[in-house]
Point group: C2
Chain length 202, copies 2
DNA sequence: GTCTATATACTGATAGAC
DNA sequence: GTCTATCAGTATATAGAC
């Protein structure tokens, strides 16, 4: 009996992706071998190729899944916020975005890390796809900033640049925040929301 | 004659570091082979080991040199600004820091990239050294922010967190700014300075 | 579905000729 | 100072047994 007792195909695939995500985030895509991933989930290296085409498409799938989950979660969050009867101001929507961004990314640190750090390990075609998804997300914020300018509640010399700067600031949280540290997640969120609001108001 | 005509030891060492910096930034430390670096500067792989101990210490040296250059340049910039007779407000010093940060980093994109991205490829000992230098730099900004609070010109719930958030925002410039793009470097600088000032003022 | 075994190529680093 | 040659180890990916 070659098949290991208790082996189950329907869970090996997801476990492979989970293990790869963690290992890529920790050591980097190029530094992780297929053998390491296989060892992590208790199979031989050859068995991985039942679930993936090659190492490159494994990385690409992880990044695409993350970006699509991000965009979907944002749309869901928007829809939920829109259910209330009262219309939101652009500043409220900016705060909503900032809190969503910090929370979503804090819950998926490994995927975030990979999606920003391993872009250069994608083939040009795969890079273009991920880059497109990232732009889509940036545009969501930019739309809010433009609305704020139209309202007059925000003053921004360049809404595209402001969007990038705000996302960069919010992403910073991901590089150093640890649950259980000096500041609670809520406190970190509040402080960032405050700085972001002030940065865009007259 | 084994030695290549025109070979000069005094320039091969620096050329090795320059080539490694570019290749590591472009493809990642783990993805770059010693042979690639050697090919880039026109020598054989074995010859590299006349100038470095091993691949790890090559990475470490690049990162340490960058961080030390950053700290030295900041001290120089501070000294130059201090030569004027009039004392600077904390907000002026914050603006000075922001402009210095953007300019210094824009001029050394590859070194910056490596120093943030390849931390996980350092041995624990080497990591601790680089981390210490990075903290030193963060403390420079934090000192300015504390002075602003003492003056009353700034309102910050947490100066350490504010320092990290500001640096994160300023670092964002490095990931997308290209000379000759839609916005000039001065314009990008001005917009960031404006947002940073507003983010910390009451 | 997973195993073992293997093909082919490349890795970092060293030894010794010149 | 740089070369060639090489070592021992590892890489991705595949073939075929069970």
């Amino acid at each position: 009996m070659a098949r290991k007792p208790g082996s189950r195909a329907e869970i090996t695939g997801p476990r492979l992706r989970d293990a790869a995500l963690i290992l890529f985030a920790r050591h980097g895509f190029a530094a992780v071998s297929m053998r390491q991933i296989a060892a992590e989930i208790g199979v031989q290296a050859g068995a991985l190729y039942l679930y993936i085409d090659d190492k490159q498409s494994l990385l690409f799938d992880l990044m695409r899944d993350h970006m699509e989950a991000l965009l979907t979660a944002w749309q869901d969050s928007l829809a939920k916020a829109g259910q209330g009867a009262n219309p939101q101001t652009a500043l409220d929507r900016l705060e909503h975005f900032a809190r969503f961004h910090i929370r979503f990314h804090a819950a998926r640190r490994d995927a975030v890390f990979i999606s920003y750090m391993e872009l250069r390990n994608l083939t040009p075609d795969n890079f273009a796809v991920i880059e497109g998804l990232r732009r889509q997300y940036e545009t969501e914020l930019e739309t809010i900033l433009r609305a704020g300018q139209a309202e007059g509640s925000m003053v921004l010399p360049d809404s595209k640049l402001a969007a990038l700067a705000i996302i960069a600031m919010l992403n910073g949280v991901n590089t150093w925040f640890r649950e259980g540290g000096r500041l609670s997640r809520d406190r970190v969120e509040d402080i960032h929301v405050d700085m972001v609001r002030k940065a865009v108001t007259p």
